[in-house]
């Protein structure tokens, strides 16, 4: 052997490698066996109204870790939503439909729950309040953004909360949507922390929401925010109370009836002078009208699918489009391959998206034809029924457009709503043609150049550049003050920054 050392070293090296690999395999087998026996026990206690998500994360690291994953915007659903992108820039017709309302200034595709506070600070819709009490929006705009809201409603009282301005509470609301929005800190049971849902649910169903089953709660926890709502200015003097228009039911017609009875209008479109209702993501309502909702499949079943870490089962808190991983949600029940399932979803969504584009086109024409009619000398009596038709048509368009997932959740209901909306836009345009003819105008009404968001906005006389500059100044100077205040209060989540 001394003469030929090489084979000896080769044997040594080979047995070293094989032993090492076998050892790894053995420890992997032991680890996989041991993890079957692990028990899920909370690792820390949580204070009542704890709004810092990382404090809950100490006790429930898997759930918290996946909640943090909502920062990950790398997946873009093929039809609905191009994350982080400017939705108005993609579709400038919306600038015309929302003319006279803050949505015409700035409207983005949705991002994950982790961006909730950041995005509402950054949008032009909330303005640039440099001092407490300034700015266009009430505190109601915070209601769906943060677990600081139930804490504040508890501290201030609900009515008092609603009397504040958005800018009053900037130093209080710093934690993005998270644990305390949906969970009881002691038992971890799903809980309702927003009063408007409990009130609206009772009005719509006659049931006390505390009687809801766990499976119902796996949807109702989401319905705290993913619903159609408006700010009722009559309930609390000086306050704007988030209210759900559910007294007559969950359909688009039921909500419209509620708003008509209340004489409610979000804004008057300055082009046509039509009194418009802006729809706000009626996801819970439309989900009920699709087959998944009707079969009792909850939001969490698909958007927070059960997953495993080792052998530990938990709900993924990475709330996102199920299309990011059909294997976790769709295929648990549907045995088709992932590509086929994806095609089934995108086909439905594409068809509804086409219908939305058609009705938008009709509505843009109707707004400008109404303007031409006013300019030609039409009277209020002549215009009233037409403006009502435009309101009804646009309400139907917006109800579907604002609920991003509805084109999959309830494609038939979406098609029914859009069909009705398209017919009303057609009726409005027919009536407008008659009015215009009566006032001597027979030529088609030309549209201005609306090919880009900037052209559409400058047609409305919006000065977006100076609003952007003011917003930048606000973010540079006011937001750090808010964060400092939260740090002094002990409500800032240092671990989440």
């Amino acid at each position: 052997m001394k003469k030929r050392p090489l084979p000896g070293w080769l044997v040594f090296a080979a047995s070293l490698v094989v032993t090492f690999a076998l050892g790894l395999l053995a420890s992997s087998i032991m680890e996989r066996r041991a993890e079957a026996l692990q028990v899920n026990t909370p690792l820390a206690a949580i204070k009542p109204f704890e709004s810092r998500n990382s404090a809950w994360g100490d006790a429930y690291p898997r759930q918290y870790g996946t909640l943090r994953d909502t920062r990950d915007m790398s997946f873009t659903p093929p039809v609905v939503g191009a994350h982080g992108l400017d939705a108005l820039g993609e579709n400038p017709r919306q600038v015309i439909l929302w003319a006279g309302y803050a949505f015409a200034k700035d409207y983005n595709h949705p991002r994950g729950h982790a961006y909730a506070v950041e995005d509402v600070r950054n949008t032009l819709r909330t303005g640039a309040p440099m001092k407490l009490g300034e700015g266009p929006q009430p505190a109601s705009c915070w209601v769906c953004k943060s677990p600081d809201v139930p804490r504040l409603m508890n501290e201030l009282g609900i009515d008092e909360f609603y009397k504040r301005k958005w800018s009053d509470l900037g130093g209080e609301v710093t934690n993005h949507i998270g644990c305390a929005d949906c969970h009881d800190p002691k038992t971890m049971k799903l809980s309702i922390t927003r009063p408007h849902l409990a009130i609206g649910y009772k009005a719509a169903t006659g049931r006390d929401i505390s009687t809801a089953s766990h499976q119902e709660m796996r949807t109702l926890a989401c319905a705290q925010c993913h619903v159609e709502y408006y700010f009722d200015k009559t309930a609390v003097p000086g306050g704007q109370v988030v209210t759900l228009p559910w007294k007559h039911g969950f359909t688009v017609e039921a909500a419209e009836k509620y708003y008509d009875e209340a004489g409610f209008t979000d804004f008057v479109n300055p082009i046509s002078k039509a009194p418009i209702i802006k729809a706000q993501h009626p996801d819970y309502e439309l989900w009920q009208m699709g087959i998944h909702g009707q079969r009792g499949v909850s939001c969490a079943d698909c958007h927070m699918p059960y997953t495993t870490d080792g052998s530990q089962k938990f709900s993924s808190h990475h709330v996102q489009s199920p299309l990011a991983d059909p294997g976790k949600s769709c295929q648990v029940c549907h045995r088709q391959n992932a590509g086929e399932l994806l095609r089934n979803v995108t086909e439905r969504q594409t068809k509804i998206a086409d219908m939305l584009a058609r009705i938008e086109q009709q509505l843009v024409h109707a707004h400008f034809e109404a303007k031409a009619a006013w300019d030609a000398g039409a009277t209020g009596d002549e215009m009233k029924p037409v403006l009502q038709l435009i309101r009804q048509s646009q309400w139907r368009w917006d109800f579907v457009a604002a609920s991003h997932g509805a084109s999959f959740h309830a494609p038939l209901e979406c098609a029914r709503i859009l069909d009705d909306g398209l017919a009303r836009a057609g009726e409005a345009r027919l009536a407008l043609a008659r009015i215009l003819a009566r006032h001597g105008q027979l030529d088609p009404v030309a549209l201005p150049d609306l090919s880009t968001k900037e052209k559409a906005q400058s047609h409305l006389g919006l000065d977006i550049a100076s609003e952007r500059a003011a917003k930048a100044e606000f973010i540079r100077t006011v937001v750090p003050q808010w964060l400092r205040q939260a740090r002094e209060n002990g409500t800032l989540d240092e671990n989440a920054l």
Binding site: G23, A26, I29, R32, T308, K328, V332, C333
Partner: protein
Amino acid sequence: MPSEQTPRPAGDGRRLPRIRVPRYLAAALGMLAGLGAYVVHISNAFSYLSDDPAACVNCHIMGSYYASHAHSSHKGAATCNDCHVPHTGVFAKYAFKARDGLYHASVFTLRGEPQAMMIKEAGANVVQANCVRCHGRLNEIVAPGAPVTLAGKLHGEGHLCWDCHRDVPHGTVRSISSAPDAIVPYPESAMPAWLRAARGESPSPLPR
């Protein structure tokens, strides 16, 4: 001191065969063999020769599939192997088992398992053949003609049994986390019972 040793006669049965192996190599091979035997022990490798469904829950991700089978109409009639390996001969059976098993073990070791496991083509064809194997009389009436395969089905040539019998036997909602707390015979502790007892521990770490 005079040597007491006397050469033993050649061919003495008590004597180990004389193979010329350097001692260090023997030691290395011995370590390998020992570690190999340990891996065989902790992986319950011999259980895979049996038809006992408990062998399949050596990997805990099979727990919910074991549980759904154990509550199905097939529990008393068919084991995992009755459906999931071919029964066309002993060689075919173990060859399929070995190939499938090695694939499963590799995916499990590398933590590559999906939440909802989907049967692959070879497995689908085996299960379909086994449906017909037991339910042959029924199939003379409802599914006469050439046997259906997954490829055939995808070309519109007939249907697989579970295209209609979707819940047989694992239920309609299936994922590795669908029944996490089902009582399933996961492997016993790798430590021998006498050693656990000597340390004052219960003989098995699992509730029975």
